[in-house]
Symmetry: C2
Amino acid sequence: MTTAGNRLERRKARTRSALITAAQRFIADGKPNAPILEITQAADVGMGSFYNHFDSRDELFAAAVESALESLGDYLDSLTVELSDPAEIFAQSFRITGRLFRLQPDLSRVLVNSGPSLIASTKGLAPRAARDIAAATEAGRFVAPDTDLAMALVAGSLLGLGQLLLQQPDRDDAAAADALTAGILVSLGLSRAEAEELCSRPIPLGAADLDQP
Amino acid sequence: MTTAGNRLERRKARTRSALITAAQRFIADGKPNAPILEITQAADVGMGSFYNHFDSRDELFAAAVESALESLGDYLDSLTVELSDPAEIFAQSFRITGRLFRLQPDLSRVLVNSGPSLIASTKGLAPRAARDIAAATEAGRFVAPDTDLAMALVAGSLLGLGQLLLQQPDRDDAAAADALTAGILVSLGLSRAEAEELCSRPIPLGAADLDQP
DNA sequence: ATTATCTATAGATCTATAGATAATGC
DNA sequence: ATTATCTATAGATCTATAGATAATGC
């Protein structure tokens, strides 16, 4: 949490972090027009400080989405380090992310409400998924010659899953995530049997530490 | 275009329609905060008239998205009337919609920029796709026992495709749409061979009449 | 006579900054 | 001495409406 640098820089980082966290809540609540004064009040930061860190609300919100994606990506990496099969890494990452929609509803609302950013972003989830898909294709596990096209299906489906789980609060998130992951794996070239086997393996779900770095 | 009713009602409908069309352009341009005055100016309508039709900008924008989805759905229905196999209706609808991202960039930007609405909407594309998927499952063509979950994959993928085509203007839209559709069909239970056969059939692409009703 | 539209604007809201205050560095 | 933060607010912007005008109904 406490970044390097001297005390002054740490204080500055703390203020910036408070703004980003507050912004994530407003995004999660679907309030992309929240007045800057309200955001700074939620962050318990003086109005004027905002402009020490960001030039506009859009800039803050973009940083907030990027930060959420990045910490989610780091978290997934930490849970898949011991795996070597890229197909399994991909499957497990998707299954975990699906479960996070329930464990971290704020985070998932940020994702769902920033749709296109999730798909297009060069940070966070998308580049990791693209990396896994390319590696699995290289290894002959997937048949996905067009990584970008595969990403359209994968990232879009993730948004769809998030939307579904928010809409149906009583739905079993693990079952939905696993079934959807299996469908995606089949689409990416695995056999139905192998896809379902991969999606029935146990997964680690360590206490997520998704706070600001 | 000219709705029923007397002249007064037609005039009213014209004003409303002008506001909706203007709103769709602002949505397409990613300007969800456009001042109401700017919208009415774009619609060539007096500022005050806005409040004769809508209580807020959000209400107008919701109507604009719904209208875009509805006319797109009607268009797809008109092109698939002669088909009876629900799997083929679904495949053809998806392939056509993918191509429309190029033919109607404004429309596609509306879709992409209103992401969750597309997935959740009870009008337009989603209910039609759900209908086709359920029918194909009923007929033993698809293996998709959970229609809502299938919709998460289908609707999400459509968003992903739209995003991809906007991002890569030189990409072959027909090839991308067909390849993605095949992947989705495999995920929904068709064999790879049959999915690719379905996606290589010729499709009608009549001059789209997607204007306001 | 009725209904819809238009023009003009009061009042509310928000942004961005100036100037004062507090915290840290040296 | 320097840097970041805070408070307070001028000026810009926007919303929503009042009142006038134009179009249609009968």
